[in-house]
Subunit: 110 residues, 2 copies
Amino acid sequence: MNLKPNGRIWIDTDQGAFMGYGRIELLEKIQQTGSLRKASIEMEMSYQKSWKLVTQMNIRAGEPIVSLKKGGKNGGIAQLTPFGEKAILSFKEFDHAFQQFLKSYKPNLE
Amino acid sequence: MNLKPNGRIWIDTDQGAFMGYGRIELLEKIQQTGSLRKASIEMEMSYQKSWKLVTQMNIRAGEPIVSLKKGGKNGGIAQLTPFGEKAILSFKEFDHAFQQFLKSYKPNLE
DNA sequence: TTGCGTTATACTTTAAGTTAGATAACGCAA
DNA sequence: TTGCGTTATCTAACTTAAAGTATAACGCAA
């Protein structure tokens, strides 16, 4: 039978989801590439969707998570703000605690 | 800003999801009505979908959660097995612990 | 044997979300 | 001033999960 407790967590705001597994992965790829387009390709996600996610995060957080600039030397740049970096760390900590919770829980059905 | 930790949990098997919020609600409505059709109407869910959910649960649990019988006095009957009742209680306990976890967690971002 | 309300199942249609494709705007560097 | 690669945005096409529609099978009761 092999019953396995599972789940997922995220952070909401009044306007909707703010931070979750997909967004975290996207932010990390932005951090690595410096480009929203490259990050979306690595995520195998359309540019439109990742742009929407980032823009939503920026609005919902009240303070920019990612700084987006178009034009210039390399065509443009996408960069995490210090606040964005803090947000990643905070969510990862939350998820770590949740994974511990999941691991510790034993369903009593046999 | 009002950041609110949120999440959901469920129970998986090797064949896929076995128990979660929607299924629990469906099981409780079956318990109350004795009918899969009436339960689906109360859930505002198509009969086909609820039938599929119940059938999957029965298969994935290895042991019936809901007993389905067609024909007879009232056209047919849907009834939780004792094992099904235990499954409900077990999941609710799991969820209670999870809600406690969520409530206790304070994100450190301000 | 007929009617009833349910379970059981196939097929079609709808709706929502996602992606694709195209194009404008931008600003540095050559 | 031109070219480049990116951000930004619109519209159309596609995909897929869900619901709708229809019908068969069942077994008790009248």
